[in-house]
């Protein structure tokens, strides 16, 4: 039986008078890798921040495995989150940071250490384990965020641009982990600007533009939407977000300069 992992209804997010997300609704089921695509400032990160409880929406309902976000602790316990901009507790070392995360999540010492050892080895973090996070490179900070998102074996993974800064090896491992997580029955929400990754990894995608979903479904569904038999997700994306028109002229003009 398919379980609904995330249910978003009529979500509205605003910053002052600026409406970043307007009446957004979607559901993500167990076993799915749900891609959130959109141009810069489309409202992807705002949506994700609401899902993880970092941002208060102006309106709308969000449920994580049937738990409303108002039941903060229960909802947040089911989520593993990698933020777009990795600002952790920078003065701590990864060891101290993992201790903090594991303690707040009330994880069993033996279980968490066993998981941690595997992840640290996979992402080659051991040598930086006692170095303050502030002194790590962007990629290593990203790895720390990824590992702490996986520590408690969450049912739902919410990853906002998780591949930024990761080296090829870590990027590959993360993609494999995400696929494995979905195969095991977990759910993933995955925001990215890399269309090739979204096309290969995601079971369904939602294209957000100006705070609204302008296309949703599998790549085949989206092809139908733009009435084309061929074309990559990138082509579909540019069409759906109305960025294709005039783009060639713009490129030509830049090349002529």
């Amino acid at each position: 039986m398919e379980t609904v992992a995330v249910k978003v209804q009529d979500l509205v997010v605003s910053y002052g008078s600026f409406v970043a997300v307007e009446n957004l609704s979607f559901t993500v089921k167990n076993g799915e890798i749900y891609g959130l695509l959109g141009p810069n400032g489309a409202g992807k990160t705002s949506t994700i921040k609401v899902l993880v409880g970092v941002l208060e929406p102006r309106a709308g309902n969000v449920q994580i495995y049937g738990t409303p976000l108002s039941d903060e602790v229960a909802a947040k316990s089911k989520i593993g989150y990698v933020p777009e901009e990795v600002v952790l507790l920078d003065s701590l070392t990864p060891r101290e940071f993992f201790e903090f995360v594991a303690s707040i999540r009330r994880l069993d010492r033996e279980v968490v250490n066993s998981r941690l050892e595997r992840f640290v080895s996979a992402f080659e973090l051991k040598q930086y384990f006692d170095t303050p996070i502030a002194a790590l490179s962007m990629g290593n900070k990203q790895k720390v965020a990824v590992v702490s998102a996986l520590l408690h074996d969450p049912k739902l993974l919410i990853l906002d641009e998780p591949l930024i800064g990761l080296d090829a090896r870590s990027s590959k491992i993360l993609k494999e982990l995400v696929t494995f997580h979905a195969k095991r029955g977990g759910a993933v929400i995955f925001s990215t600007h890399i269309m090739e990754v979204a096309e290969k990894l995601c079971t369904r995608v939602a294209i957000i533009n100006k705070g609204k979903i302008v296309g949703e479904g599998t790549v085949a569904d989206l092809r139908k939407l733009v009435r084309t038999a061929e074309g990559s997700l990138e082509d579909i994306f540019l069409k759906v977000t109305e960025q294709e028109a005039g783009m060639q002229d713009m490129i030509r003009a830049l090349e002529e300069e």
Binding site: V54, E85, V87, T93, F100, A102, R105, R109, V120
Partner: protein
């Protein structure tokens, strides 16, 4: 560029990434707040310098320190104390800002621009000086103004200019040394060994030293001047040794070049030689500071050597214990937090020194001391929540209960209060005074303090739980800050107030009333905290 320095120092390092989720108007407000906070820091330092100059030099303007102390000797003490205060206040201000400056984050903005290394270095140096501009200029202006009001000579004014210049250069050098060392050995070095942990906690006390000395001098200005005058009068050999030591050498020299009568040739010679030596040292210090700040411009400092990581074991704790552990770790790596954190202990140490002037510890003395410690302790909870701002954009997604947060911060703040109490008791024992009365009074009062802390935290959490605890949120809104502190102070003072009243009306009921009021407040606040969602 200086705006960037202020922003990095105040917000970027402490506010986490909560900025992008704000509207443009809010961000403009935050940037404005960053500049205002920097300005406030400078103005507060300047006000302290001005107030201290008043405390030190006003008696000289009116009638001298006392009839027993000659004016020239009182002036020596005053000048020396003033220079010491300027040194420590500027270092204290500098430590709050310069670690992030030294961390070279600001240079990231400049390096991609088409500027030469020399130009970048020059910009960095000017930015560094701007951190201190108002206090540096004000200290010199205040000193010279006071000097001429007292009736100084032209020669004395020249020496005074040299003295204040040397002091300011020493302050810049001391700030740079501390910030650089802190950045390389503490902030960036990491490590889990006991040595590293010990080093970090050692540094928490090092950061407190300027605070303590400045605080001590401001509190005991009059006594210091008198003590110095007494020393100079009583033992001529000591005054000769003092003439060699900074800042006394300048104290002597300024005094001798102002009051020509009664000049002791040996002391004059020694202070002149020492002052010239300090001037030369200041020249080399200035060169070093210039070079060091420029080093930041051409690539910054590298961290100390890394420890070899032997294992990846972690030891999770109960959530509230872990929050305390995390706060201590963060504070041990941040000069501004460390100094605020241990302020109640400093306050206690200063108060404890005043013990020596009391023959007995009566009710009024004990209550006065406890109220002082309580009021300082209650400044802590907002700071402890502001520390969450460091990574709140991330940590807010963790399943943390408000109750857990309040418990952790309350326990930590109350422990800080208790440490103050222990320090006080130890000093009382050392001075051979009855410590049991003040200890018992303080232990009972701890319930009221804990209740006040819980109240402050509950108000703060109600306001900032969803918004995040960036420093800018809490400290930039002065009205909010005051609105948090006032209820806390009221709750902390009610039991003491009731008990003191009862003491005069029906003395036997003093302890029962005090205990009952404090306990009642504590129980009510525990119930409130437990009912928070």
């Amino acid at each position: 560029m200086y705006k960037e320095v202020s922003f990095q120092s105040i917000f970027s390092l402490r506010a986490g990434s909560s900025l992008p989720q704000r509207s443009r108007k809010d961000i403009k407000q935050l940037v404005a707040n960053a500049r205002i906070n920097t300005l406030i820091g400078k103005l507060v330092t300047t006000v302290f310098i001005a107030v201290f100059s008043g405390v030190v030099f006003l008696p000289l303007l009116i009638s001298g320190v006392g009839s027993a102390v000659p004016r020239d000797i009182a002036f020596q003490g005053g000048v020396s104390a003033f220079l010491a205060v300027v040194l420590f206040l500027i270092v204290f201000l500098g430590l709050q800002m310069s670690t992030s400056f030294v961390s070279s984050k600001v240079v990231d903005v400049l390096s991609p621009l088409p500027l030469s290394k020399k130009e970048i270095s020059r910009i960095m140096f000017l930015c560094f000086i701007r951190i201190f501009d108002i206090p540096l200029v004000a200290a010199a202006a205040i000193f010279l103004s006071v000097y001429f009001i007292i009736g100084g000579s032209v020669l004395g004014a020249v020496v005074a200019v040299v003295a204040i210049g040397v002091t300011e250069i020493f302050a810049l050098a001391l700030t740079t040394v501390s910030a650089r060392f802190f950045y390389m050995r503490v902030t960036r070095a990491g490590g889990k060994s006991r040595l590293q942990t010990f080093l970090r906690f050692g540094f928490m006390f090092v950061w407190l030293l300027p605070t303590f000395v400045a605080y001590f001098i401001v509190n005991f200005a009059g006594q210091i001047v008198q003590w110095f005058a007494y020393l100079s009068q009583s033992f001529s050999s000591i005054s000769q040794i003092l003439a060699l030591i900074y800042p006394f050498s300048y104290g002597f020299l300024v005094s001798y070049s102002t009051f020509f009568q009664g000049v002791k040739n040996t002391a004059l010679g020694l202070s002149a030689i020492a002052s010239i030596a300090y001037l030369v040292a200041a020249y080399y210090c200035l060169r070093w500071v210039t070079r060091t700040v420029r080093t930041i411009g051409v690539g910054g400092f590298t961290a100390g050597p890394r420890e070899i990581v032997r294992d990846t074991l972690i030891i999770p704790q109960i959530a509230w214990v872990e929050i305390i552990r995390k706060d201590l770790r963060v504070a041990s790596r941040s000069p501004s937090y460390a100094s605020l954190f241990l302020l109640p202990v400093v306050q206690t140490a200063v108060l404890a020194i005043t013990f020596s002037s009391f023959s007995q510890i009566g009710l009024s003395t004990a209550v006065g001391i406890l109220v002082g410690i309580s009021l300082i302790t209650l400044l802590l909870p907002p700071t402890l929540l502001a520390m969450e701002g460091l990574g709140s954009a991330y940590t807010r997604h963790l399943p943390m209960k408000k109750t857990t947060m309040v418990t952790a911060k309350t326990v930590l703040s109350t422990i800080t209060y208790m440490i103050s109490l222990v320090v006080l008791s130890i000093v009382a024992i050392c001075l051979g005074k009855n410590f049991l009365f003040i200890l018992t009074l303080g232990m009972v009062d701890a319930f009221a303090i804990a209740a006040a802390i819980m109240l402050e935290l509950s108000i703060l959490l109600r306001k900032f739980w969803k918004e995040g605890f960036a420093v800018g949120n809490i400290y930039s809104r002065i009205t909010t800050y005051i609105a948090i502190l006032i209820p806390g102070y009221i709750v902390a003072l009610i039991p003491i107030g009731c008990a003191v009243e009862v003491f005069f009306l029906a003395q036997p009921f003093f302890w029962p009333v005090f205990l009952a009021t404090a306990m009642a407040e504590f129980i009510v606040m525990v119930a409130v905290v437990l009912h928070q969602k």
